[in-house]
């Protein structure tokens, strides 16, 4: 059992939960994830670890409420518990020897790119962060991102805050104005990662994306999370979750993410979340 110590609603539909997992908190490095199960009838879902506190023995996750499991997770309050947490899984982010990095986060992906920015900053990398959301009230972690970045750009799709446009537009401008960039980390919705990869490809800037396919065991046993990278099948759980964005088949990722759309819809309708706005 993993007791929840803190829960914060960061924006409409995006929630932060902090829970006890002392062993994982000691071992975890930026870029790794956990698989959790709320109860014994639950689904196993992967979530990137946003932060860990080895002293308190806690992990922080940030997630968007999209289905039954994330809804139920969002309803757990301090004192409640998550039944099963497995981790830390996946390879940590490679953060050594990068001069200037641009960390691009879209929507809930800001929560995933933030720990990478933080780890890079600690290694002495010059960090430029570009974070974006659909609209101002959906933007998360602005202050946290600023604190680990040498330069922060904020965008909203509707222009309600910051730059009016997409994160990829800002990145394109940075490249056009001659900013020297050694690596880009792009994490967010699949279309955003695809566009960012397309922006950097002609300039040969290595672009790392963190993928979030459907998983079951998370230990390389089932292959649910297989993705196509550079024409080869990879298991996101053990080979990833980060891959070269120029080589990822985003179309396949998108269609595989839709595999259970019907069942997910049914589960949402049946769960207690009838009155929940989404």
């Amino acid at each position: 059992m993993h007791r929840i110590t803190e829960k914060v609603v960061l924006s409409e539909n995006i929630v932060k939960t902090v829970f006890e997992a002392p062993e994982i908190a000691r071992k975890r490095r930026a870029g790794q994830f956990v698989i959790l199960m709320i109860d014994d009838r639950g689904e196993r879902i992967p979530l990137t670890i946003v932060d860990s506190d080895p002293v308190q023995g806690t992990l922080t996750i940030i997630y968007q409420v999209v289905g039954k499991t994330t809804y139920e997770l969002s309803q757990l309050e301090p004192g409640d518990a998550i039944r099963h947490v497995l981790g830390p899984l996946g390879h940590p982010t490679e953060i050594e020897g990068i001069g200037t990095a641009v960390c691009v986060g879209g929507g809930v992906g800001i929560g995933v790119v933030y720990p990478i920015a933080k780890a890079l900053k600690e290694k002495g990398t010059r960090v430029i962060s570009i974070i974006g959301a659909r609209t101002k009230k959906m933007l998360i972690l602005e202050e946290e991102s600023r604190s680990v970045s040498d330069e922060l750009h904020v965008t909203t799709d509707d222009g309600s805050y910051g730059y009016h446009g997409f994160v990829s537009d800002v990145l394109r401008d940075l490249i056009a104005t001659g900013t020297k960039i050694d690596r880009v980390f792009a994490i967010g919705p699949v279309p955003m990662m695809r566009v960012v990869a397309n922006v950097t490809r002609p300039h040969g800037i290595k672009t790392i994306v963190s993928l979030n396919p459907i998983m079951v065991d998370g230990t390389g046993m089932c292959g649910a999370c297989r993705v196509n990278v550079g024409g080869r099948t990879k298991f996101t759980c053990v080979d990833g979750p980060e891959f070269d964005g120029h080589e990822v088949d985003f179309g396949l990722l998108t269609s595989r993410l839709q595999m259970y759309a019907e069942q997910e819809q049914k589960a949402r309708e049946l769960c207690r979340c009838g009155n929940h706005d989404r």
């Binding site: 071992k27 009838r41 196993r44 947490v85 497995l86 046993m221 099948t233 069942q263």
Partner: protein, 474 residues
């Protein structure tokens, strides 16, 4: 006793035929996930047990990887002492309800039963199953007295058949045993792989519960290799480590379209259904594709489990696609028979070469080639050879790839000094399973590649004795 007497005794015993075990009707059972065979009644069990001629040099025992005193327990069944029979089996096998169901007895104990030379062998597996079930349902599972603690701590990685067996053996020798399991439930393939209709999960739970009563500590959700390494385990004070992590990584065929939605590895398909109980969705949260036309690629027991699961999930057409013929199929005859009874359609000498998907990326068709059998290959089976120009398609909306598994690299990758072979399986120095790393033993599929539950248990048994000697010498 002279030879003539013994022959007379055999003749006399054979007046009783091998007792059949009742089963659920195929038409009914394809609509549920309940167990197919229903088990012996006490009367039938005693009748069957009386067929045993109590050989002085029993062949059956030599065929048993865990050396069960088979004539001993069968005699007790014949005498009606079912609890005594259970105790007798548990002297060497802590998972009798499992073995009675999933061991390939026809290739082991029953194959060497002397009665089988002329008539049918004693139904040893059915008797083992009966005895274990009787003990469990009587609520009289006894925990034997344990020796004084030795003060030695042993870590077992993986709570599958090998790990559970060695844990039971070592704890009975007085050692403190902790099992680390990556999944949220103990049992390994018994819980994620073998379906409910062949091995009810309540039975696995009961056997795991028995081990815990013996004092085995089981830590679930523990990814050894990631959360802690083998070095960490030694640093925490364990005196020896046993690796029984299985050959858990699925093999795909690397043919075009294999990543379309609707195409599963057998591991995923069975894990969703068995471990996550997706067949009870939405009562349980994990979904699974309930295909109308389901093709399972492969001819082993896992393929049979998958195709029979597909029928129970509502498939109209459930196919086995196998590139050789029925004779070469590695699945147990009993499983193939059950699948046939349930309406599985076998497509022999057929091999998929490509999948075709729709605009949503969901599999719709499978392009296959016809094969013919050529010369025998290194496995001794005749090699399937492609018939040129024989391509045809089969309409499918769900595919389960069940062509084998391979070693999961996480532990070897994170354990210095642990040698693996070119397939990634752990190299052992002798039959006890001692590895190239001091204090570390391994057994089961991670050493042999995909094999059976009972062989993994046998490996656990052998390693237990060696680990005992090792830790007592420290």
């Amino acid at each position: 006793m002279t030879d003539k007497d013994r022959t007379d005794k055999k003749e006399k015993k054979e007046r009783i035929p091998r007792q059949a075990m009742p089963e659920q009707d195929p038409k009914v059972r394809v609509t549920n996930f309940d167990e197919v065979p229903l088990g012996y009644s006490p009367e039938t069990a005693m009748q069957e047990a009386r067929r045993c001629i109590q050989c002085k040099k029993p062949g059956c025992v030599t065929g048993c990887p865990v050396d069960i005193d088979i004539p001993g327990f069968v005699k007790l069944v014949a005498d009606g002492d079912f609890l005594g029979a259970a105790r007798k089996i548990k002297e060497t096998n802590c998972l009798p309800a499992v073995c009675g169901r999933v061991c390939p007895q026809e290739d082991q104990c029953e194959k060497l039963c002397i009665l089988g030379k002329k008539w049918d062998p004693v139904a040893i597996g059915r008797l083992e199953r009966f005895v274990a079930d009787y003990e469990r349902s009587a609520g009289s599972v006894e925990v034997p007295a344990l020796p004084a603690p030795t003060g030695r701590r042993i870590a077992v990685v993986g709570a599958g058949p090998a790990g559970l067996t060695i844990a039971g053996d070592l704890v009975k020798m007085g050692h403190a045993v902790t099992i680390f399991e990556a999944l949220h439930k103990a049992g390994g393939v018994l819980i994620y792989g073998i379906p409910e209709f062949r091995l009810p999960k309540s039975i696995v739970d009961a056997e795991v519960d028995y081990l815990q009563k013996l004092g085995v500590r089981i830590v679930t959700d523990a990814a050894v290799g990631r959360l802690k390494t083998i070095d960490d385990l030694f640093a925490e004070g364990f005196h020896a480590v046993f690796l029984g992590v299985g050959a858990g990584a699925p093999v795909f065929m690397n043919i075009p379209g294999e990543n379309f939605s609707g195409i599963y590895s057998a591991n995923e398909y069975l894990t969703r259904s068995n471990l996550m109980k997706a067949y009870r969705f939405p009562e349980y949260d994990t979904p699974i594709a309930r295909g109308r036309n389901v093709a399972v690629i492969g001819g082993g027991n896992v393929a049979m489990d998958s195709v029979r699961t597909a029928l129970r999930l509502g498939a109209q057409n459930a196919y086995i696609i196998y590139r050789r013929t029925k004779t070469e199929m590695p699945a147990r005859a009993e499983e193939v028979h059950h699948a046939e009874e349930e309406g599985v359609q076998f497509r022999f000498l057929t091999n998929p070469i490509e999948y075709i998907g729709d605009e949503k990326g969901w599999v719709r068709q499978m392009v296959c080639q016809r094969m013919e059998l050529g010369e025998p290959d290194e496995s001794g089976r005749r090699r399937p050879v492609v018939i040129k120009g024989s391509e045809f398609t089969i309409d499918v909306d769900t595919v389960v790839v069940s062509v084998g598994t391979m070693a999961n690299p996480v532990i070897p990758m994170t354990t210095p000094g642990l040698e693996t072979n070119r397939w990634g399986y752990i190299v052992t120095k002798d039959e006890t399973g001692e590895t190239t790393r001091k204090g570390v033993w391994a057994g089961g599929d991670i050493v042999t590649g995909s094999a059976t539950v009972i062989l993994a248990m046998g490996a656990g048994r052998k390693a237990a004795r060696a680990i005992h000697d090792y830790v007592m010498s420290l």
